[in-house]
Symmetry: C2
Subunit: 148 residues, 2 copies
């Protein structure tokens, strides 16, 4: 597969990643390091909370989404380099969930100050094996232009 | 320190977390699992890229920000539970950086459908030891109301 430059993309163009299973050990390990709250660390303790049971940190879901994009998403020239974005967590990620990402090019904005690159607005949905959306992300990515 | 409920917060109220050092090994380990791109994995390979040297994944910076908020930020009743937010990465996080977070309550929106809770818009800046902002995040958090 050839590398994709800014000029190769079209608005509305979609993509699909491979999938990734999230284990209970993964959820607890990520939470232990980055989001040590009871509902991300212990199933018993999570029962009485808003989550009703062990749930992955939203930042864990975001990190897994990035992994899926990098390892099996669109092959952008220069890599997947984000300036930021808007993230929403719709449903918690649970132990045993198998996630994949569906994406779409929303907008293509050539840079005025830097003619060698452009900004891509990429919308992605991260779904579990039941077809529920666990996360949406609209990311601002920088891509090099062809022949720059 | 007492737990903070929605009703205890005021718009404009600020907070400050402790600090956290990011090592080269941390950067490479996180990237190896969640964002395996050359500029997050290898200093040599990163030289010729837009980053000009090894840089942490933006999602790693976000995860460290969450760690700082959870372990030394405001003590919200029910924990720090986010529905999402808007994140921007301003400057890369580098090996050896010592990060901390400064935050502010931007908006307080009582829920119409759920009188037992409210939505808090919390703006946070993650800064390095040189005072540079590596990340801004405007997060939507759910907080229980007092006496609900």
């Amino acid at each position: 597969m050839n590398l994709l430059y800014f000029d190769d993309l079209k608005i509305g163009e979609g993509f699909l990643t491979g999938s990734h299973e999230v284990t209970e050990a993964d959820i607890k390990r990520f939470a232990g390091e980055f989001d040590p709250q009871p509902f991300h660390l212990d199933d018993e303790a999570a029962r009485g909370t808003i989550f009703g049971g062990l749930a992955a940190s939203g930042w864990h879901t975001a990190a897994i989404t990035m992994r899926l994009l990098v390892t099996s998403g669109p092959r952008f020239a220069g890599g997947i380099v984000g300036a930021g974005g808007e993230v929403e967590w719709k449903t918690p990620t649970r132990a045993g969930d198998v996630l994949h990402v569906e994406g779409e090019v929303l907008e293509l904005i050539p840079s005025k100050s830097r003619p060698d690159r452009g900004l891509v607005l990429l919308r992605s949905r991260t779904l579990n094996q039941r077809g529920e959306t666990v996360q949406t992300l609209t990311a601002k990515l920088m891509l090099p232009r062809r022949g720059a």
